[in-house]
Structures are given as structure tokens and as C-alpha cells.
Subunit: 356 residues, 2 copies
């Protein structure tokens, strides 16, 4: 995606080429994936005035050939960083000023990398990459819509079958099975957090009986590499009065927040809106309001208290207020939302409190 | 694990404390997990002469409290790195010489981190950590045995049901479902590579009909955070003569390699043994012979051509020779092996060529 725009940035910053690195599995560099579609070990070179090329070890060569990059070199894993510099020179690229992604380069990898580029200067373009990725192309929006649509179908099927699951793990396994069956990936490990487990926003499903009461289900898939993200809170057995009123308050706030979204709206103002409406409960809202969604499950923009980001056309992000009462219960309601002149909710599963 | 040994290393190297960092999900720092059991965002401080403590953002606080570390601080995500330095000082720790893990610190994170430690010197202890992890404790060996045992059961059930799967994705989904159902994690995304797909060692299962012929299934689970790794190649329909003889050659080599393992054996010699026995086919063996297995699916020792590692007591590693004929087929046979006075194969699923 947006290779031309990126090359334009290199040109403007007087950088000869960008060298992006996918290090050991499973630490994938999302910026490299964005420009190349390649998820294996390797390096991507994007010269400012030439076509990009990819370098991959022999065992990943066939996979690399199937990426969006036309020119692929096979290289020895042992001489990896040396070969990069050789190939760059053979391609007649002056590598005096090199753009790197400092968010996806470890101290040690960079130490070895720069040994092969002793005369070069390096400049960080990580922010340029994430900024490019923040505004989605039409193609990306199509992928994200399909991703949300798949997540909707799978979470609905899971909720429908919920009575069949004995443990949180079984419910999580079902979400995953339905995902993988269709050749999709998870965008993160599903959260199924029943009863008091729901008070931990990042609870890992346990192989223990599902507790009665509220149950938070947080789930998303990857379609063509693009993430979706949805959370629904359902109730196993009869909810307490307090739980119902808390749920309805949060739902009203979640819908209200989505209605507040307009172009150039500050993300921090959306967060403020939630806090104001939560009133005395705001101390139980312990995480951000949302995050951009794309190749990464968490990307720009940030919808937090201190965010400087503003809503722009073609951004895709989550709106996910939550309240967590330690050792009691938790509620979170989350949608993935596209902003295109107006907010368009991409995850369409019903938000009425479902009692099963 | 091995906190005392690690503190002893700090003492010897005249380092005041180690500061290890788990950055954004899903980029977990395995060394931090090893010492703390904590997998969320946060920092772990291990002073040379005091008990370790953990710092986690508010939303991960409850999870952090459940880790192996007794002392946990909650901190603001925004002032993360500043707070680390505050808390270290409050604990009366002289932070003049700080140990860091340069393999798990990105250039940008470190840039911000060191701003709060202007007068400190930093020293890399990544190799010390991986070296500690290379030799397993008895507790770790128990976890790894159970992990392999679970992987065996699940791969056997999958192979038994293989005729029911229409696509590679369905088979992969089944492996995953059985894993998650019991509250286990995958140690990596399973590989199910049928027919010509088998010629790509890291093929991702496709939502396409399983091709007849050889099919590579590479799978592993995590039990209590510890990985297992097993590959079996089965045959869907009648195998060709060439495929049978190639399979039998590889199996003989795999078993032969395991029999070669003894204390102080050079890993590179084991690799040589495979190459020698593959003869004219050695050019189709395009990856390493194996890798250590523990908290990470790939850790020390390295069983490659150029490895300097030697087999030691209480190491756990894979033996996985493979041959890959481009656009035709692939075969890989892999076991997880413990060395304890002799090689003990932990994955016990039959290696006879199964025709289904």
C-alpha cells in the first residue's frame, strides 16, 4: 500500500532508501507488511527512485515470491546483514542516508546491521509509516469491512451456542475454530471473562467452569491481514439490578460517543465525553477509549485522555468504553468504526443485553 | 526461574540491577516472562541484592499480582519510563550500572527509557539470559514433558480424523480447537501443507481442498508457558514409490541423528551427519536441523551448520530434518528431545508413514 506516497516522503527528506526489517517470527514489522504483504523473516528495501525489492532466506523464498514485491533475492541467514548491503550496492543505490523504522529494530539487530553501513546516516521514519497507515485506502476499507463482517458472524454463532460451553476455554476455542476453519487468522487471543474474571480487561480464558453473571467476550479476526475488533458483554443467568443499570448506562455512553464523532474532533474530547457521563464510575474505566485498527490490532489514532490525535476521513478505530469492579464484574462494549464523512459502525452485532 | 543465578551474574558483572521490558502486546520479552511469569505490558526490576519487583499499568495490575513476583507497582502508561526511575530510586537502588536486554528493547523505547537514567551506564545481558534459559530446571522439564504429551494427543486425534477435513484450514482449525478447549495455547500457528504446498517449510494453511500425496503437519502447544514442537508427514491417498523411499531415508536419518546425540557433541556435527546421509539430496534440506525449545519456540541451542553450541545435560531441543522439492512435495519429521545423560524423545507419536 501507498508505496508512491512513501517514496515521496523519502524524496522530501532527502533519504536514499528505506530499509525495513522483519526479524525473528513472531515479531512481525507491521510497516514492512504494509508495504510488501510479506510476513516472513527478511528485509525490504524501498529506494526513493526505484522499485522496491525484498530479501529473504532460502527457506522463505517461495513465500516472498508470492508477496506484493516483484523483485526478490534469496540470501544466507548467516550473512544476512552483510548481504543486504551487497545487494543494495549491486542495485546501484547510493545508501548515504537510510530511512529505518526505529520502532521495529532492536538495539542488537541494529548494532549488527549498521556494521555493514559504516558510512551511512540513519533517520527514523516509523512515525511517517504509522501516519500513512492511519488513513486507510479504499482497498483497505473493503478488507476491514469484510473482516468486521466475519467477526460478527463468528461472535453471533458463539453467543448462540454459549449454553453448550462448560468453560471459558471452550468458548474461546470455539471462536478460534470458526475463525481458522475459514482460513482466517485471529487478530488477538479471544477474551472470554465470566463473573469476577470480567473485572480484568485482559483476562486470559481459563479451563474453569463459566461463572454465572456478566461475561465479557472480546474477539476479532484478520481478513487479508486486516484486523477487526468487537466486544460484547452477555449475561449467563439472571443479571442483578445493579448490573442491568450499569450495562444500560455504558451502552448509552457507547452509542452517545459514536454520535459525537465528526471530522477534526479531538480523540481526547471523545474520552472526556465518556468520563463525564460515567460520573462517579469513571474511576472504574481503567483503559483507553479506543485505538486505530488495520494491519495491527492497535495502531493510530489513539483515543485516550492525553491523545493529540484528531478524527480524519478514512480512519478506522474502536470505541470501547468499559467499567471494571475489582473482584466483582466487568462490562465492555466495543465496536469497530469507520469515519467517512460520518461514523459508520462496521461491527453490527446487537448490543442489547443478551441473557442466556 | 533461576532468579538467584541471575542476581549472581549481576553481582559478578558489577551491575546494580537489571531492568527488563515487556513492550506492546504481542511482543513479549521471553526473558522477562522467564524471571516473572508475567506476560503483560510492564517492566521488571531485578536488583542484585534485593527482591525483584514489577511495574504494570493499572489495567494489567491484577494480572501482574498473579505473577511470580511478590512486589507489584501500578503505574501510569503515560509516565511509564519516568515512573520506573522514580520507583527504582524510592526502593533505594543505586542505578549507576543497569543491565538491559538489548534483544528485547527497540531503538525508540530505549531512547525514551534512557532519558530517565541520564547518569547510568547500560550493559547488555541478553546472552546471559538466553544462556540461563538454555539449561532447563527440573520444573521446566516437567512442564515441557507435559507440553509434548498434550501435543502428541492432539496431533494423533487430528491425524485420526484427517479424512473428515476438506481443507488445510479445517485441519489447522481442529488442531487449534483441541488446544484451546483444554485452556492451552498454541506455541505457533500450525502448519498443514499438502501436496506441493509441503515444499514451503513455513506454508500457511489455505482454505483450499487438501491435495493428495504427502502432507506436512507441524504443531505444538504451550503448557504453563512452555512450548512443544512436533512434525509428522502423512500421506493422503497412495504415495509414489519415490515419496516412500525419500520418506524412509529421512526417517532413518532422523532416528540416526537422535542416536548420535551425546554430552558435549557439537550441534554442527549433528547437522553434518544429516547432510552426509542425505547425499545428493542435501541441497533440498533448506533449514536448520533444530532449535532449543522452552518459553520460546525457537531458543538456544542452535542446531545449524555454523552453530558453536554443544549438547549439554538438561537441554531440550528439536531434531527436524526435512527435504523440500520445489513445486513437488516436502517431507519433515520432527521430535522434541530432552538430553539427560542420553537423548530422551519427548514427542512419542509414531513415525511410520501413515497412509490415510
Amino acid at each position: 500500500m501507498k508505496i508512491m506516497e512513501f517514496r515521496h516522503i523519502l524524496e522530501k527528506k532527502n533519504l536514499d532508501a528505506a530499509v525495513l526489517y522483519n526479524s525473528e517470527f513472531p515479531r512481525i514489522n507491521p510497516n514492512m507488511v504494509y508495504f510488501s504483504g510479506y510476513t516472513g523473516l527478511g528485509m525490504l528495501v524501498i529506494p526513493k527512485n526505484k522499485q522496491p525489492f525484498l530479501m529473504a532466506p532460502e527457506m522463505e523464498f517461495q513465500k516472498a515470491k508470492k508477496s506484493m514485491v516483484k523483485k526478490v533475492y534469496s540470501m544466507q541467514k548467516k550473512r544476512f546483514f552483510e548481504s543486504v548491503s551487497d545487494i543494495i550496492r549491486k542495485n546501484g543505490i547510493k545508501a548515504k542516508n537510510i530511512a529505518i523504522d526505529r520502532n521495529n529494530f532492536t538495539l542488537n539487530s541494529f548494532k549488527y546491521f549498521k556494521k555493514s553501513f559504516r558510512k551511512s546516516k540513519f533517520r527514523d521514519v516509523s512515525l511517517d509509516c504509522t501516519k500513512l497507515r492511519e488513513i486507510k485506502t479504499n482497498k483497505e476499507i473493503e478488507y476491514l469491512k469484510t473482516s468486521c463482517n466475519c467477526a460478527d458472524k463468528i461472535i453471533q454463532k458463539t453467543i448462540k451456542n454459549f449454553r453448550d460451553f462448560r468453560t471459558e476455554s471452550e468458548a474461546a476455542a470455539f471462536l478460534e475454530y470458526e475463525t481458522k476453519k475459514f482460513g482466517l487468522e485471529l487478530s488477538f487471543n479471544p477474551i472470554v471473562a465470566s463473573g469476577s474474571n470480567g473485572s480484568m480487561p485482559h483476562h486470559e480464558p481459563k479451563n474453569e467452569k463459566i461463572k454465572s453473571g456478566l461475561c465479557v467476550i472480546d474477539f476479532g479476526v484478520k481478513y487479508n491481514g486486516y484486523c477487526s475488533d468487537i466486544t460484547r458483554t452477555i449475561c449467563v443467568g439472571k443479571p442483578k439490578k445493579e448490573e442491568i443499570s450499569m450495562y444500560n448506562l455504558l451502552l448509552k455512553i457507547q452509542n452517545g460517543t459514536i454520535n459525537q464523532i465528526k471530522e477534526n474532533k479531538k480523540c481526547s474530547e471523545l474520552y472526556d465525553f465518556v468520563n463525564k457521563n460515567l460520573g462517579k464510575y469513571k474511576k472504574y474505566f481503567t483503559h483507553g477509549l479506543g485505538h486505530g485498527v488495520g494491519i495491527e490490532i492497535h495502531e493510530m489514532p489513539n483515543l485516550t485522555l492525553n491523545s493529540k490525535d484528531k478524527i480524519q476521513n478514512n480512519m478506522v478505530f474502536t470505541i470501547e468504553p468499559g467499567v471494571y469492579f475489582p473482584k466483582k464484574y466487568g462490562i465492555r462494549i466495543e465496536d469497530t468504526v469507520l469515519f467517512k464523512n460520518k461514523p459508520i459502525v462496521l461491527t453490527k452485532t446487537s448490543k442489547d443485553l443478551l441473557i442466556i
